[in-house]
Subunit: 336 residues, 3 copies
């Protein structure tokens, strides 16, 4: 049990109400009981605040007005909540050693303080750092590095020449370091362009389930520090992603594109190859970026959702849009 | 060999022609021989009916007219075909026991009538029900439940706190229960929001290959009974999907969205977070849903396919669409 | 070390400059040193040619003009580069034998010259050809064939009835031969349509990481020879893809569609089911194909990227596009 007073002190929050109120877990506003802490961040859920049975609620200053209950006031309640919730869900610590069912190549170097889980494989010349966890069913190929304190949850593949920094978290099914998609057409048949680069992932990155990051054709594919990728994202060879950029699920980035720092890429957005996106660009869900972006800001493409019948009419008109515009120009001309 | 008469009786179908006609397998209209059964459901293939060498054909009443061959008449030929075909392709039964190459945590409970396949892993406190099959290379983490008669085909991951109902079928590469994508920006760096919920999957659900379903942040991510997800679908944390809803491949659903019962979501459609979609909504392929939907019906977004040159012209005009509309308004005003 | 003269002779290239110039690896124009070979293919990088320290550069005839350095002149520098680079990165040869940690069903046939890697599984009646490599963590189910010289890199699933030709390369996480998504609605519940077909993959195909190819409902899903699929592509049941067609990452193709030869499908494009696309069709990134295509050429859909504020205005007008067009027609009519 942790008291409101202890939490206020530990995380530098302002306390309102009874500092002795104690909680032993976290919950949503709607689901919380008296022994739980909750928070209000998204205004969508404000109406739940009055009825919530939560023992402690973390709120913004202006949401705290007139509430007669135990509150912790934070500039950013979501951040404060994240830190408090982490007290009840600490990341697993490595259980040092190699599971008897794992297979480790003789030339691999596994730190004595690293954990190699059941049915995992570590290939030639790969190095696993202290405190790192290679979970069940992971396959690490040749010449890879798993940095200190990094964790491959389960069934992750590092194929070849993948270097993870420290405290990197990779979720199941992710594949880092597969061949980039390099092809050349020669006399009516494709020939494969060798992919001789690697993948470099900075400290504190997180890579989602079933996300794929190909290794570079010649030079490396590179993620800066603290890059956060959700599930099922595709990062092609030689892409470079700046520090602190986050991408929602199912984004696809084509080869040799450079993305800046602190970008936010919405779900299922696409970014073509060989372009450059500056820092602090936001791309909305399912937008397609086809040219470089030099100005920070929010960008979109697509059309709004409509009932299918109305949409069919608008879609048919889209086909004729150029003719329509010319007709309007002609009408305007006649006018003058 | 099964006769037309026997099939008619077993599945309540009307028989036309020779009830003694026997078949031992199923085939397409174009590919079937005299010892095979086929069906006509999609009108696209109607022209193949006359020439088909199939011994028995399952058809609708109105397709049966004037045909001098052995027919089974069904209200829904596809349903009847599915049931007949299943006779020749029964789902595998569990071969009880734990394969010697599998690794099962001492605290896990595996029903004696369950099958744990080669090179599979079952983690702490997880429970595998009677008749369940955990196929080769599956990884089940902590605190998971695989219900009676469920089957993880191969290389499936249940990461943490995933509870599958009965007769759930999960295809290879699917990842259920990975961390939801919860992040908060704190002083220029992302901090991770702990994901303390689980995933609950109802009875008779089917989860496609390489589909990902994240576990909830606080409460659970929930699929009702008989939900059918195709391959490479992304379901974010705290999504709720109603019973009997089906999604085609590559759909992405963002966090905390609720989807009703009997919805049909087309391939590669996107659904943003924190919205609600009522029962019996159809979304067409690659549409993006950005707001709640309260009326059943069919919804779409996007533009029609065009040859690239024409498309470039329409696309350029789309950029100027607001100016064009204002110009038309001005012209109309002058007129009056 | 290989000299320019030797490379010119081996690959039929024209030599300019010092034939004794020797290199031991390849690099980008910007990154190359005197002991390295580079190339210029994409005009985007032409400005780097003058400053490049590369010992040898492969160029087109017209890029060679006026350059006082060692050059190899090729009709297609990218093709020539690919062939030269392959000298320094030969594909791995099979290390024959079955790893002690692998599990092979008694009824499977593994050629003595094939390699079955650590923690791999080969199921009933499957056959692995000479020189084939089944990498670590792969799972091969029943009745599959891996042709001579094919390679499953790691953690690949061939589920059932998957026949790979010769020299097929499959990257980690790919799932071939899972059940097609066949469902019929019967009295308010889905029933599963058995998937009795297989997957046939022609010689020299390449299948990307986490790509999924379902097996056919009745007949097979078929890839012709030399088909190249990037990562996270979804190929539904009974799709047929012609020889030499290439698809970029995240493409989704729905069931029973036929795609011709030498097609190029851009990233994250969608193709609906039951249609036919002729040879030599190019689809641009994120386009949706909703009807058959009978003419070779380039096709697109979607709208261009805009700053979010401008886009909102255009998107709002798209909703009213039919009304706008009618208004213009009315204005034009009044005019006459």
């Amino acid at each position: 049990m942790l008291t409101a007073a202890a939490l206020a002190e530990r995380f530098g929050l302002a306390l309102r109400g009874d500092g002795a109120t104690a909680i032993d877990s976290v919950a949503t506003l709607a689901g919380a009981g008296p022994g739980q802490l909750s928070f209000l961040s998204n205004p969508r859920y404000r109406s739940q605040l009055a009825e919530s049975a939560a023992g402690i609620v973390v709120v913004r200053e202006d949401d705290a007005e007139g509430l007669d209950r135990t509150l912790l006031v934070a500039r950013d309640p979501y951040v404060a909540f994240a830190k408090i919730a982490a007290l009840f869900d600490p990341p697993p610590a490595a259980n040092p050693g190699v599971h008897p069912s794992a297979v480790v190549d003789a030339s691999a170097e596994v730190d004595p303080a690293a954990e190699i889980g059941p049915l995992a494989f570590v290939g030639a010349r790969s190095r696993i750092g202290a405190g790192a966890i290679v979970g069940p069913g992971c396959v690490i190929g040749e010449d890879c590095v798993v940095g200190v304190g990094s964790r491959l949850v389960a069934r992750v593949s590092l194929v070849r020449r993948v270097r993870l920094g420290e405290r990197v978290l990779v979720h199941p099914g992710a594949v880092l370091g597969a061949d980039g998609f390099g092809l050349a057409m020669d006399a009516g048949r494709w020939i494969k362009v060798p992919q001789q680069g690697g993948v470099v992932v900075g400290d504190d990155c997180e890579i989602g389930a079933n996300t794929t990051i190909d290794r570079g054709a010649i030079e490396d594919t590179v993620l800066g520090e603290d890059v956060r990728l959700d599930n099922q994202i595709q990062i092609a060879h030689n892409v470079r992603i700046g520090a602190h950029t986050a991408m929602a699920g199912c984004v696809a980035v084509a080869g040799s594109t450079t993305i800046g720092r602190y970008c936010l890429i919405g779900g299922a957005a696409g970014i073509v190859g060989h372009i450059s996106i500056c820092d602090r660009v936001t791309i909305t869900a399912m937008a397609l970026v086809t040219a470089s972006i030099d100005e920070p800001g929010e960008y979109s493409s697509g059309t709004p959702l409509m009932d299918n019948r109305s949409w069919r009419r608008s879609a048919a008109r889209f086909r004729q849009l150029d003719a329509l515009a010319r007709q309007v120009q002609a009408l305007a001309k006649e006018k003058t």
